[in-house]
């Protein structure tokens, strides 16, 4: 790998770590600032490659809907996050899949520990971010999260993944 690519990888990793920190610590506004105007937040359900026009997803949201989600979480009556999940995730296996002028596609994996009401749940998945390089740093154009258990019964997934 050429040195300039290593530099890009390092920068992308730092971005993903920051995103993880904002999600873990429920810093909703700071997390929202990471998104591009034409955001797409996609968490498929049942299968990783299900066409969202004809298949239900866990999350398939544009910027407006992401904002709705955060508005709800910031309020006092999102009961499934009262108390909030305590979260800690490890982001790893970061790889640049594609790097064009101003656009980087990066894949990574995460192991996420969640503790809520004395129960610990482990969530595992793979993320694919499409990042735009802007004057204000990277912005997320698309984020697709492939949960390892996206075809299994799940409890409460109302925190940010």
């Amino acid at each position: 790998m050429a040195l300039d690519n290593l530099e890009l990888l390092k920068a992308v990793e730092q971005f993903l770590y920051s995103e993880a920190e904002y999600m873990d610590s429920h810093q909703y506004d700071r997390w929202f600032e990471l998104w591009d105007e034409q955001a797409l937040y996609w968490v498929p359900c049942n299968a990783d490659e299900a066409d969202p026009n004809s298949n239900v997803a866990l999350i398939y949201e544009n910027r407006d809907k992401i904002e709705d989600r955060l508005f709800r979480l910031k309020g006092r009556h999102a009961h499934a996050q009262n108390p909030r999940s305590r979260l800690m995730r490890v982001v790893s296996n970061v790889r640049i899949a594609q790097a064009d002028a101003g656009k980087v596609v990066v894949t990574s994996q995460f192991v996420l520990g969640e503790v809520r009401l004395d129960r610990q749940t482990v969530w595992i998945g793979r993320s694919q971010h499409t990042l735009l390089q802007t004057a204000n740093g990277f912005k997320i154009r698309e984020k697709k999260v492939l949960l390892l258990n996206n075809d299994s019964p799940m409890g409460n997934l109302t925190f940010l993944i």
Partner: protein
């Protein structure tokens, strides 16, 4: 056999009373379901849960799936009846069957994949192989069996009764009982409200599902018009700032404020609904505007008015395929989904949500139906996780048993019997809870209940 398992010589729940610990007399069960209140042990007691399996889930009609899920010969889906594994499968002969997922040899499941298309089901213990109608094709090394062994008599066991209403497949593990249409009774016309919302009168259950689970009893998934402004306060706040978006369009004025033209309706046999029809009709002009702004929306409306008379077409469009009905014990048609309730244990329940696509409408309308569903339902949504959270709080709270009664008396003083015999009250009243508990008691005690007015 332990004492207390029979009353007047009648034992309740054969499977349960066999081991001598789960016996409940009719009087004891009747004592748990009283006028306007139920004893919380019915939500917590493992012995009650065992009895529910045998008396309710293994006797009553149980919803299995929709025929469109097994559209082609060989298509199959794994489902459960209570805890018993079954295969919903369309055979090469085109017939939809519900087969017990258990090899006739040594009992292993013969199908372990959740869905797919197969010509044969092979048990990988010893290789017994069945075709997709359930017929045993061959056993390995047949010379080991004597002449009295009949391959024909070892087909996969079908559920004793399987019937369909408008492609909704139900099964009963009891060889006897009412015909499906007689059991569904008034609920049939509510299923019609969903199916007939398609211009082709056909729905398509092929969009996958949300599988959710909560740590609480299966009966907590009710049909409740009293909770939305509290459990879903966060969503209502969201809708209120964007009244035109998605479901917000159908909630422009609060259907759950106790003053709207919204009702609860006890349809009999434990089936009950939140009757939102008049409210949705009152807001039809707004909804039509919203629909017209969606690609294919005008064509959809034209097709419906060309097919049906104006009142019916308007009702079907306004309802948008949402009769908001619960069919006892395990199916609900709510918003854009068919929902299956699977009891796992006294304190754990799966709710599987299948968004429904309408045949004959634009892909954009169907995609919108999926996005509307996701916004409120599913593990990562804004609505159903809060329901699950509250159910779990109920399950924890019920462990406090000094005062063990659950109050379901709301509206007892103002409910009335409608002209069709259904019991009606304000949408916030607990008519559905009482309807479900009446049916619960009738099934648990083995007494027939068919009249909704028998309160």
């Amino acid at each position: 056999m332990a004492s207390g398992t029979s009353v007047n010589g009648t034992s309740i729940g054969n499977g349960a009373s066999m081991n001598g610990h789960h016996g409940f007399s009719i009087e004891r069960l009747q004592g748990l379901v009283q006028r306007g209140r139920v004893h919380s042990s019915i939500y917590t007691d493992p012995a009650i849960f065992e009895l529910e399996m045998t008396q309710i889930f293994y006797r009553s009609w149980v919803y299995i799936g929709h025929a469109s899920e097994v559209a082609a010969p060989g298509d199959f889906r794994l489902r459960t009846i209570g805890r018993q594994p079954v295969i919903l499968v369309r055979g090469n002969d085109g017939v939809v069957r519900v087969l017990m997922n258990r090899c006739r040899h040594r009992g292993a499941v013969v199908c372990e994949t959740e869905s797919g298309r197969e010509k044969v089901f092979r048990c990988w213990f010893h290789g017994w192989t069945y075709d997709n109608t359930g017929k045993l094709l061959s056993v390995t090394a047949p010379e080991g069996y004597g002449e009295d062994f009949s391959v024909e008599e070892h087909s996969l066991t079908p559920a004793p009764r399987v019937e369909m209403y408008r492609d909704f497949v139900f099964a009963s593990l009891s060889p006897q009982g009412p015909a499906l249409v007689d059991y569904l009774a008034r609920a049939t016309s509510m299923i019609d409200l969903l199916v007939d919302a398609s211009p082709h009168r056909q729905i398509d259950v092929s969009a996958g599902c949300h599988k959710t689970v909560y740590n609480g009893n299966w009966k907590l998934v009710g049909m409740d018009g009293y909770h939305p402004n509290f459990v879903h306060a966060s969503v209502i706040a969201m809708w209120q700032r964007k009244a035109d978006s998605g479901m917000g369009a159908t909630h422009r004025s609060d259907p759950f404020d106790g003053k709207a033209a919204t009702y609860v309706r006890d349809l009999g046999n434990g089936h009950a609904m939140l009757d939102l029809r008049q409210h949705r009709l009152d807001h039809y002009p707004d909804y039509a505007k919203f629909l017209a702004s969606t690609p294919g929306g005008k064509e959809y409306m034209e097709a419906m008015f060309a097919r049906d008379d104006e009142e019916r077409a308007r009702t079907l469009l306004a309802i948008a395929g949402d009769p908001h009905v619960g069919v006892y014990p395990n199916m609900q048609l709510i918003h854009n989904q068919i929902r299956i309730i699977n009891p796992i244990s006294p304190t754990q329940t799966e709710v599987i949500m299948f968004p429904v696509l309408l045949k004959g409408v634009s892909p954009e309308i169907n995609a919108l139906r999926l996005r509307q569903h996701e916004s409120f339902y599913g593990p990562a949504s804004s609505g159903s996780p809060d329901d699950g959270e509250i159910f779990e709080r109920v399950q924890r709270g019920m462990l406090a048993q000094v005062e063990p009664w659950i109050d379901i008396s709301r509206g007892l003083s103002r409910e009335f019997v409608d002209s069709d015999g259904s019991i009606v009250a304000n949408v916030t009243d607990e008519v559905p809870q009482r309807a479900q508990m009446r049916q619960w008691l009738a099934l648990m005690t083995g007494e027939n209940s068919s009249s909704a007015a028998a309160a």
